[in-house]
């Protein structure tokens, strides 16, 4: 189950001091026992959407993050060159998927709870709200589960993005469609009215137009939408060959289900966020043929070897290690890219602390700005220009499709061609 069970984070009010010694070594009574084995506890603050519309993805993201944290802490923490061991502690609250609450709670994290570093909530909207607080209080924040480009164009200086930005989310799908069927010309975009999806479809739309596609429908829906009837009627009326869009998990899966119920004929159907989630399989028939962009897939092969080939530094565990550790930790729950995103946010921070050889925020920030490495999750590199400081420029997407195979319904990587595990099912059944 994907419940919010295992990640029950540290209680709210116990984050008394960030640099207090912890009792990991038996050095509390006698100073001279092991004077050099100093331990620093770093407080990491973030919120979780334990309730509200972002619940599914958010919980997975936090699961990933907690897995990283437990792994580091179990290994005795990060060791700095002066022998200091850095361990981590999480302080978190439920943001109810609500921007107001996010600002309130991040303020609390930054001040009352004295968090040293922040991780973003899930979703671009919530993250934009929390980024403002991070900047106001000068806290370094790694964002994950938040792809919108806009946030990074507001003059932020302390916020770093782990995800491929929204503007590059669906462009690959257009390329895929072009490679599948050059005769297709009519596209419909139906998307959620949120920061993230709007950024995505606007970039994809101009990309498609530049490739000569005709956009027959371009319309947004409100995040709470449960009835896609009006859109489906419009889609039927405008007769596109392909539908692109969606938003987050809930609306996306509902859209797919209702499209299927109404027996609408399209050849190609790409949705944001929802398809890569393992739970998407619950849709059964309605899932077959649906394509989705993914930040990370277990099948995608980023390895120390590929790092070497690309001339990049490798850091952290491999995908296989991640998947098996995750499944062991969370009762066999299969990790989604949100889980990987949560993990990698921690990993980035860990690497930055190592590179900085310090937990001083300014040094960590400098290390982040200089970062350029390959992990199981892919390439990580941040924009350092003033216009888009912190924007992810290293990482890119893969595309999956649900296919009915011998072993039942399964996700296959279909794009880019280099990493594909199966041919695209085209046109959709």
């Amino acid at each position: 189950g994907g419940g919010n069970t295992n990640n029950e984070p540290a209680a709210a009010n116990n984050a008394s001091s960030s640099s207090a010694d912890t009792s990991s070594a038996a050095d509390t009574s006698t100073d001279e026992a092991m004077p050099e084995a100093k331990t620093e506890t770093v407080v990491i603050g973030f919120t979780t959407s334990q309730t509200g519309s972002q619940n599914v993805s958010s919980v997975r993201q936090v699961n990933g993050l907690m897995q990283w944290m437990n792994a580091v802490n179990d290994a005795g923490g990060i060791e700095l060159s002066d022998g200091t061991k850095v361990t981590f502690e999480a302080v978190t609250y439920d943001d109810e998927s609500n921007t107001d609450r996010v600002q309130e709670l991040y303020t609390r994290l930054a001040t009352e709870d004295e968090a040293d570093f922040l991780i973003s909530p899930y979703s671009s909207g919530l993250t934009a709200a929390s980024a403002v607080i991070a900047e106001q209080y000068g806290k370094v924040m790694i964002t994950t589960g938040a792809a919108s480009d806009d946030t990074y164009k507001q003059g932020l200086t302390t916020v770093f993005q782990a995800y491929t930005p929204a503007s590059r989310y669906l462009t690959g799908a257009v390329d895929l469609l072009e490679s599948l069927d050059p005769s297709v010309k009519k596209l419909a975009f139906v998307y959620e009215n949120s920061k993230f999806s709007t950024d995505v479809v606007e970039a994809a739309k101009s990309y498609a137009e530049s490739k000569g596609y005709e956009i027959v429908l371009f319309e947004g829906y409100d995040p709470e939408t449960t009835d896609f009837g009006p859109f489906i009627n419009k889609i039927q009326d405008s007769g596109p060959d392909a539908i692109l869009g969606g938003g987050h998990f809930q609306d996306g899966s509902t859209f797919a289900r209702q499209l299927n119920e109404k027996n609408i004929d399209v050849k190609f159907f790409t949705l944001l966020v929802a398809p890569p989630e393992p739970d998407f399989a619950d849709l059964g028939d309605a899932a077959v043929g649906v394509i989705g962009p993914s930040q990370w897939e277990p099948l995608a092969a980023f390895t120390p070897e590929s790092a070497q080939e690309a001339g990049l530094e490798w850091f952290g565990i491999t995908s296989d290690e991640f998947v098996s550790a995750y499944e062991a930790n969370y009762e066999g729950e299969e990790p989604s890219y949100h889980s990987a995103g949560g993990y990698v946010a921690g990993l980035i921070l860990q690497k930055a602390i190592l590179d900085a050889d310090s937990i001083d925020p300014d040094k960590v920030k400098a290390a982040l700005e200089a970062m350029d490495l390959l992990t199981f999750y892919g390439h990580i590199k941040f924009d350092t220009t003033a216009e888009a400081h912190g924007l992810q420029i290293g990482h890119s997407m893969v595309y999956i499709q649900w296919q009915d195979g011998d072993a039942g319904l399964a996700k296959q990587v279909v794009w880019p061609i280099e990493g594909a595990t199966a041919d695209t099912l085209y046109p959709m059944p």
């Binding site: 919010n4 947004g220 709470e224 449960t226 009837g229 009006p230 809930q250 509902t254 289900r257 109404k262």
Partner: protein
């Protein structure tokens, strides 16, 4: 043309269910002058009850609906005696806040118990294709049930003694009491009927849309609009109001972006309040 027809039919079928939800709200409002702000969460509870009865007991959803209705009635009576009875004679604000606190309690406990992840009732009656229009079985059945419920409620209110008592208590509680009408019981019954309708509409909605504990809020707002459209305390008006709203929701998107629907909906709502507060069909009290 097909497009317009399909949209109207979709809207109409949905409108029946909106009508039932609104009927529950307007009954409570008309009878006891209480705007029930717990209406939305009760609709959501209706959805969850149906979901659990269906998925745990494996009952047919329409059989489950009977159980849902009974639960709704009992819940309403409970809510009435716990939260509303003491303030029924107090100024407006007190009942608004009392029902709002019930709203908070249900949502608070509901999120703790059910989380906010969406649920789906995996049930389908298939679909029928007529020409280019596809009709879903679940929606057709819901519309028929809605009609039956409306008729039943109408007969109850205007043709039975308890129905007359309900209207009398609505009008002057002290006087009804003096005439030998047990007003507290009658009020509790009315509240129960109102929540029963909410629960039924929730159950029906659950057979076609995914939902969370927060999902009732939208239908609560729609119920306000419909209540005002149809006239307070008038069950038939509520049904018509629901149909009108449903059709509007179907038609508006054919002319402009769907996100304009609420603008027009609420604009219309305020307009009707201004020019015809007794509703299009007149409040029948």
């Amino acid at each position: 043309m097909d497009f317009l027809l399909a949209s109207v039919i979709d809207g109409l079928l949905l409108g029946f269910v909106y009508g039932i939800a609104a009927m529950g709200l307007t009954l409570i409002w008309g009878v006891m002058n209480v705007i029930n702000l717990a209406h939305g969460p009760i609709i959501a509870l209706g959805m969850f009850s149906l979901y659990f009865i269906f998925s745990l007991l494996g009952l047919n959803p329409y059989l489950a609906l009977i159980l849902v209705a009974v639960l709704g009635l009992l819940l309403g009576i409970l809510i009435y005696f716990v939260a509303v009875h003491r303030v029924i004679d107090a100024p407006h604000l007190s009942t608004l806040l009392a029902t709002f606190s019930v709203n908070m309690i249900i949502i608070g406990l509901g999120t703790a118990a059910f989380t906010a992840s969406p649920r789906n009732v995996e049930f389908s009656l298939g679909s029928f294709t007529v020409g280019s229009i596809t009709l879903l079985g679940t929606r057709l059945v819901a519309a028929v049930l809605a009609l039956a419920v409306t008729g039943g409620l109408y007969l109850f209110l205007y043709r039975t003694r308890p129905g007359r008592y309900i209207r009398a208590v609505a009008n002057n509680r002290d006087a009804a009491e003096l005439m030998g009408v047990p007003s507290a019981q009658i009020l509790a019954l009315s509240f129960g009927l109102g929540t029963m309708l909410a629960a039924i509409s929730g159950g029906l909605i659950a057979t076609f849309f995914p939902f969370t504990i927060l999902a009732g809020g939208v239908y609560e707002l729609k119920s306000f609009v419909i209540g005002v459209l149809g006239g307070l305390g008038n069950p038939v008006g509520a049904l018509f109001g629901g149909l009108i709203l449903g059709v509007l929701e179907g038609i508006i998107p054919t002319f402009m972006p769907t996100t304009w629907v609420p603008v027009l909906e609420f604009g219309l709502f305020v307009l009707i309040l201004l020019v015809r507060p007794q509703g299009l069909f007149g409040a029948r009290k």
